[in-house]
Amino acid sequence: MKNSYQPLPLVAVLAMLGTAAAAQPGTFPRNGVYDQRPGVFAFTHATLFTDYKTKISDATLLIRDGKVVAAGPAGAVKIPAGAVVQDVRGKFIYPGFVDVYTSYGVPEIPAAPRQGRRAGPQFDSQKTGAYSWNQAIHPEVNAAEQFKINNDQATAYRALGFGAVLTQQADGIMRGTAALVSLNTNRREQEVMLLERAASGLSFDKGSSTQDYPGSLMGSIALLRQTYLDAQWNQRSPGRERNLSLQALSQQKALPAIFQVSDKLSALRADKLGDEAGQQYIIKGRGDEYQRLDDLKKTGAAFVLPLNFPDAYDVADVYDALRIPLEDLKHWELAPANAARLSQAGVPFVLTTADLKDKKKFLPNLRKAGQYGLSETAALQALTDTPARLLRAQDRIGALKPGMEANFIVCSAHLLADDNVLLDNWVQGERYQLSTVPADYRGVYSLNIGSQPEGRFLIQGKPEAPELKIVPTAGDTLRGNLTVTSDLATVVFGPKSKKKPEAGAAPAAEGSVRLSGYYTQEGRVFQGDGLLADGTPVKWRAARLEEATRAAKRDSAKVVPPPVLGNVIFPFAAYGRAAVPSQQPTLIKNATVWTSEAAGKLENTDVLLENGKITKIGKNLSLPKGGRSIDGTGKHLAPGIIDEHSHLAISGGVNEGTQAVTSEVRIGDVVDNEDVGIYRDLAGGVVAAQLLHGSANPIGGQSALVKMRWGATPEDMKIGEAPGFIKFALGENVKQSNWGELNVLRFPQTRMGTEQVFVDAFTRAKEYEQEWKAWNKLGKGKQKKGEAPRRDLELEALVEILNRQRFITCHSYVQSEINMLLNVADRLGFKVNTFTHILEGYKVADKMKAHGANASTFSDWWAYKNEVKDAIPYNAAIMTRAGLNVAINSDDAEMSRRLNQEAAKTVKYGGLTEEEALRLVTINPAKMLHLDARMGSIKEGKDADVVLWSDNPLSIYAHPEYTFVDGREMFSLAADAALRADMQKERQRLVQAMLTAKQGGAPTQAAPGKARGLWHCDTIGEEKELAK
């Protein structure tokens, strides 16, 4: 979280000097005579911005040889002899804009098609050369080596006011370096390149890489994390691997790094990764940053913001419009306010043309951002000074100071003015004309045509589209047509009636009058010759009496009132709230309290929640000041449900099943706090869950233990100081037996191979630990001479397991494999904390008991695949009776919200008591997650995670009336009703606004589909697979 503005390093200064020299005639052979011109221009009487905040009226800008020589008040700049002087009175000069996120002049690389499990595996990189093992890691790519001036692209950027851009090959995870180039197309690549290595580029998207790994967002994050470590190792021990990718990465570590992300959550993820790697990334976002503004501000990152505001949706149909998620409706309204909000919050940002399908929308959208509160100064800063500083090129671009590149634009009006026209874009002292100011002829003129009595000649409308009215002395006002080009005027006007003469009637006496002439600025007079309708030649003259009326002027400078905008809600999704509920002291009175403790079930009991804890349990408790009480008479208060096995709230894939061992990936990196499943779980009484990696490989990824803190950030959803967990898996998913005929190559393909994966992995982990222990024992001197082992995050997670710092939750079905893992664990000295699914646990309960494993199972699932043919609903009861700690889990977003019912089935199947049954989803999962000291039961001092049920919580007729998490009312029937009403109102308001926009001619788009997946154990990539 360090400051992203950094002083210019010496390296960069030297690089600048180098390129400055190259801007001279240099090394190139010539055809024909030399055409070196003095290139001295003076712009006088300008309104000049020497930088984004310094405005000088009546200023002079002097440039020579593509550089600024002087810029200041008229009196302070001496114009040398030989300068070409341009009077730009009334015009505005701004420093040329800089876009830091382009692929200007660099070949585009199409993304590889995503094929999931339908394609065969590709384990290794297909790139030739001594590069990274991973095809998506290519820091060795240098945009400067691929760059070729592209006239069309440069013209398009220049038309928007840009003078320089950063260009990179935006492909892959580590993308290589980007070059800063000016948009001059009259010179050579060597001359327009300002900095050949100005920044590095990164993303979580593997782009064109066809290699399997990483197959998930968490895999991308893990790959980045490991690659940074590998680069360090490679630098320290270069003899171990000649790896050009790692070398390149080490060399670019000091460069500004621009990280492209897909949304605000991934912005948080990128910044967190950067903190670990010692990098403060500049984050290229999606334009949704306002949705998590406070948290993004804390990152300390500067943001690159696109200005692609979504079109309104087609909301004409009542029912079809329901398909549009609330967040998309709201984003339509709020997207134009994004930049303004970052600016007001003091978050540094730059603006980019990236993501705009039609780049011509950039300036209109910039003005729109202005209407939504972005000040002109902030806009200018984001287009000039900030990007220059981010690229450490503030001494060359982004302002107009002596010695800097002569990159500037000449405008007809101030930057965000509606009628501002970009006239010229000067790049490195060369002029690119964009457009000309339309002369303003508007006004009231006296009109004399031949010998006719004097009339009036009114020119109204906009300067670029004047409207003409002729007011004769007698008779109706006529509309005419006026075109003026280079002061040459053509006028046509005719009789008022547009009706065609009736058939048979005599033709109208009058036809159209045609006048031609010219305008003289000095006298403000049009004059010339013309022909009347009957062909009589006439002289005509129109002399200006007064300027355009005030009304006409007001029309052309209409001020749009700032729009009224809806709230930002947390999370930014359906059922989000403007603020997270408070921890108001709450007394639940006279309920039947299921403690899940030795105390059992307490009738007519009060429970007090304060500061997130259960502080008192008893009878007739008094309500503390500021508290509220809830009548629990006839209702049942139970501990909040803990789902030991959930795949909710995960972004970008639940499996990194591309390799047999992926203990380096972490669900904690990809928690999605906006999954409506969280809210639905709360409505089902679920307060916490283990978010697990899937079961596609024997050693999967690390879990995240979260509470259902709806509205909190992903980080804040995580349970503080929760122990680490990891997913293991056995059986059919691991051996890919239901994955089709193409997936028969990844080891293991049998249960036999699966055992070997575990033995091998833990053997390596032990060796790894020994290696490090030995190294750490060495004295400093010996360490200096020696080579440290390579840090391997995959093995470190396994070492944590060996040291009881990380706990296994193992997906398992049949007894043979359960016995196998118990056996391997005993042999290699680790514990299997939990067998999850464990549908044949009833067959090996004694062995599990001996090992000390917990069991987390389904109530009654079976027969969905071969390995669950012997699953029985009596499993939980038999295991419980055998002395195991047993939980019932969901592995399913729908069943998760009915876990109380699933627990109740163990009363029916197997005869557990009701209290035992409720423990299966409360204290028992808390125990197996090592959270029972603070969660899972109703006990004084424990977290206030409780549910008030309408009925016996094991009954199908029970539903939560209140769900508290940390003493916050995260769900209640009343609050739910209020949220529904609010949402309905907000939706209606936005729909009406979209209909209005459509009537006003705004483009619309069809309702989008929702891309959120429902993950299960064996969901691969983004596929929606449903088998368990």
């Binding site: 027969a863 071969n866 012997d870 055998a882 729908e894 094991l954 009954s955 199908i956």
Partner: protein, 433 residues
């Protein structure tokens, strides 16, 4: 000693219990159940009831006081404190068609091609499925194995769940045709462009034209004189035009429901029902006004849109009830074959979210029988109807209390054992539990 005894019992039981239990022979002796609370299935509850049946038919079902016949000839079951229900009926199911979902060899629910009105689920219905006994023990005694997929998936039948083979199981053969209404075309994801949308829209229009053509030709074909050239597809559709077969329209979205029903009626279908109907709340008036019955697919489901009420699926039955639409409940969805034993609890959830218990019971007994056209014999416990009934120690619709003690199909007392109860006993005895 006790363990040894149990082991001995288990080992002798193994030979029989490891298999699907043997179907029970026809009722040979009159049975009288006394003292139970009778839930007739039509909303009526009779405390302290007597229910008598002979040769598979109910001879009495009413207050105990009203049963005046001589009890001497009856096998009497004292069910005091228990609840008595009609056997539950599971519509629109893959029961008997699928054994293990992930093993293709065991799945017979979807034929290749789009138009298969001539294929019949009945002949694939496997009476020896290990799953059937596990479904019966929660009270489901009748089911409607239904083909899936394509546009016209084929024909369903109604079967009872204790039989030697499919001929033996059949209650009503080929009761209906199943039309999967092509989904309306919407953007699948924000990246889908207008051209791709248009392509899918055109494909849908083609499907609808093909269907219309087929229905028109089928309606004409059935009027051809004898000696016509046989066409299995056209012939199999005749029943929907003469009212002998129901046309089940599988559609979820409100506008699709309207579209499908109007299509079917326009082309001459006499009896239609909508299946799925997850968004039926959008078109309640339409359903009522057009007298369309609805088979509501599993309500233990997630809302279809993020902003939908969290309980929208749960409360749909109550919404249909309030609107006066006839409906029943099914279990279609993920893992439906094995999961269908939870049908009673689906009804229980409907109670939690607005129905009365008897209304919910009706939605898994009488109304499915009516919709499938078997209500003359099944769906309620009334004199003259089949003695297909379930006795539970507690409320059948709540898993907390559901405990089936006896079940009868057509008067035959069926086994409540299964592969799963066998494995339970086997391993409980291993641990001496």
């Amino acid at each position: 000693m006790r363990i040894l005894l149990t082991l001995a019992l288990v080992s002798t039981a193994c030979a029989t219990l490891a298999q699907v239990p043997m179907p029970t022979p026809p009722q040979s002796k009159p049975v009288l159940i006394t003292g139970a609370t009778l839930h007739v299935g039509n909303g009526t509850v009779v405390p302290n009831a007597a229910v008598a049946f002979d040769k598979g038919r109910l001879t009495y079902a009413g207050p105990a006081a009203g049963f005046t016949a001589d009890k001497g000839g009856y096998e009497t079951i004292d069910a005091t404190g228990q609840q008595l229900y009609p056997g539950l009926i599971l519509p629109n199911t893959t029961l008997g068609l699928t054994e293990v979902e992930s093993i293709r060899a065991t799945v017979d629910e979807e034929e290749v091609g789009m138009l298969n009105p001539n294929v019949r689920a009945l002949i694939a219905y496997n009476t020896d499925s290990d799953i059937l006994p596990t479904v019966r023990i929660n009270g489901v005694l009748l089911a409607q194995p239904t083909p899936r997929g394509g546009l016209l998936a084929g024909q369903s039948s109604v079967v009872q769940l204790d039989a030697w083979n499919w001929q033996d199981a059949v209650v009503r053969a080929d009761d209906g045709q199943h039309l999967t209404w092509p989904a309306m075309v919407f953007r699948n994801n924000p990246n889908e462009d207008a051209a791709a949308l248009d392509k899918r829209q055109k494909a849908r229009e083609t499907q609808l034209r093909d269907l219309e053509q087929l229905f028109g030709e089928a309606n004409a074909y059935r009027q051809l004189p004898a000696g016509r050239k046989e066409n299995l597809r056209l012939a199999s559709l005749a029943g929907i035009f003469d009212g002998s077969k129901t046309l089940y329209l599988h559609a979820d979205y409100g506008k699709e429901i309207i579209e499908a029903v109007r299509f079917a009626k326009r082309l001459g279908a006499q009896k239609v029902a909508v299946v799925g109907a997850r968004d039926a709340w959008m078109v309640l008036d339409f359903l009522k006004q057009n007298d369309v019955s609805v088979v509501v697919s599993r309500i233990h489901a997630l809302p279809r849109r993020d902003a939908d009420d969290y309980d929208q699926p749960y409360k749909l039955p109550a919404q249909l009830q309030a609107a006066g639409v006839r409906f029943c409940l099914d279990y279609q969805g993920d893992q439906e074959t094995a999961g269908s034993r939870n049908l009673a609890f689906i009804a229980g959830t409907a109670v939690n979210f607005g129905l009365t218990k008897e209304q919910a019971l009706t939605a898994v007994t009488l109304t499915p029988a009516q919709i499938m056209g078997v209500d003359k014999d099944y769906g309620t416990l009334e004199t003259g109807k089949s003695a297909t009934l379930v006795l539970s120690k507690g409320d059948l619709l709540d898993m907390r209390t559901n405990a089936v003690s006896r079940a009868f199909i057509d008067g035959r007392s069926i086994s409540l054992d299964s592969k799963q109860t066998y494995l339970e006993k086997k391993f409980r005895s291993k641990y001496g539990q």
